[in-house]
Amino acid sequence: MSPVCNDPVALGLWHPLAAVEDIQPFTEQRTRLLGQAIRYSKNHENDITVLDGDRRLPVTLAYGYVWTCLGTPAAALFDLPEYAEPDRRNVCAATVGVRVSAPRAVENFLDMGHFPFVHTGILGVEPHTEVREYRVDLDEQRDEILATECIFYQPQAAAGASGGIMADYIYRVPHPYCSVLYKSCPTDESRLDVIALFLQPVDEENVRAHALVSVIDTQSSDLDIRLFQQTIFGQDKPILENQLPKRLPLDPRAETPIRADKAAIVYRRWLRAKGLQYGVIPAAA
C-alpha cells in the first residue's frame, strides 16, 4: 500500500475514476485515488456515489467520465466545449492500468517525436521524423498550457483516415494530470478532432488512463474508434512503463531536453510553479 497523499495541490483537483457507461449499475466498484482506496457505484441512470470509507466525496459527471475530489475542489473542472457539439462522436475509448506516474504519461502524450518509432505506420513513419518548431504558451488567465502550430506527417491519423496527411496539432494541458489534443480531422478539413487523456493517479507511480475521443466521423463505428485508440494506447504502454525514474523530475538539470521537448519544459515549469508534489520529484529548493 502506498502512503496516502498529503499534497494539497493534488488533493484539491478533480480526478477521473471511470467512464459512466462502463459502470455496472448496482455493483460497487473499488479503485484507488492518490493512494486512497475508494468505492463508487451507480444506483440508476447516472446517479453516482463515490465513497472514501463513510465519507461521501463530491462528484462531477463530465466528458463521459465520473470525476471526484479527495479534498476541497480548488476550482471547477476545466472546460471542454467541443464535447457538447451536436455532430461529434464522443467515445470513451477505454480505461487501462499503466505503471507510470501521471505526469510522465502527460509528457508522453505531448511528445510528437515518438510517433514514427512507437506508432509506426499509424501516427508516424520513418523517414518523416522531424518535429518542426512549434509554439508553447502559458495562458495565465485560464491557467493552462497551449502548444500550437504543431505539424506532423501521419500515415493514418484517425480510425476514419484513408491515406497519409500532414496533421495539425494543438495541445492543451488544462490540468496537471490531463491533456487535450486537437488534430486535423481526416474527413472534414474545417474541423478538429479531439482526443483527451485523463489520468487517474492511483498512486505516485501508477495510473488508470482514461481516454475520450471526440471526432467528426460519420463512417467509423464506435467499436472502430475505440479499437483504434486502444491500439495506440497499447503501443505506448511499454514505453511509459520503462521510464525511470517513475516520478517526473522537476529539477531542470535532471533530464536533458531537446528542442522538440519545448512543451514538456513548459509543463515541468508549470508544475513547479503550482508546487505540485504528487507523482513528481520536486526540484531542490
Binding site: 480505461t95 492500468g97 491500439t231 497499447g234
Partner: protein, 213 residues
Amino acid sequence: MMTLYDYELSGNCYKIRLLLNILGIQYRKQSIEFYPAAEHRKEEFLAINPLGELPVLQDGDLTLRDSQAILVYLASEYDTAGNWYPLLNPRTLAEVTQWLCFANAITASASGARLVDGFFYNLDGDACRADAHRLFRILDEHLWFQERERQDWIVTGTAPTIADIACFPYVILSEEGGISRMDYPAIRRWTDRIKRIPGFTVMPGVFPAGPGV
C-alpha cells in the same frame, strides 16, 4: 477467405495473426472487444464459441476455438513444408504438444498478471507473477541447454515450430504484468530470434527486432 475473431490486445489472438502472417495466408479480421465491453461473453459471440474465449477461426465450414488448436490446424493445413507442425516424427510431435500445454500455463499466469494490472481483472496478481517466474525459469533453462546443442528453438530440429509461436506472446508481453525478463537471458535471445523469422509481425506492446549485425 477465412475469418479470425480477434482482439488486437490479446496475446492468444496475436499468436494466430503471427502464424497467418508467417505463412502468408490472407484472412479477414472480425474484431470482438474483449475489454471493456466483454463482447466475448455476450450471447452473439457465445453462439460462435460457447466457452466465451478468443480467438476463433472460421475456415469454410470449420469453426475452431482454442489458440493452440488453431495453430495446429493452420500449420498442418497450410504449411506445405511441414516444418511448423512436424507430423512425421512421433517424438517431435509429442514435444510440440508438451510445449503447447506449457503455453497454456504461461497464459494462465503471465497473461493473468497482465489482465490484473492493465484491465483490472479480479485475480491474484502476485500469485500469477510467482507462477510465471517459475515457468520462465523452466523455459530459460531449457532454451539454454538447447543453445548448447546449437538448437535455436524450443523443440529440437532445424526450424521453429508452433510451440515457439504458442509460447512467445505472453512471454514478450510479460512486463505489462510486472514480470521482468531480466533474469532470463536465454529467453531474451530466443525472443530476438523469433522476431527475425521472415513474416514476423508485431502487436501493441511488442517491438520489432533491432537492426541485425
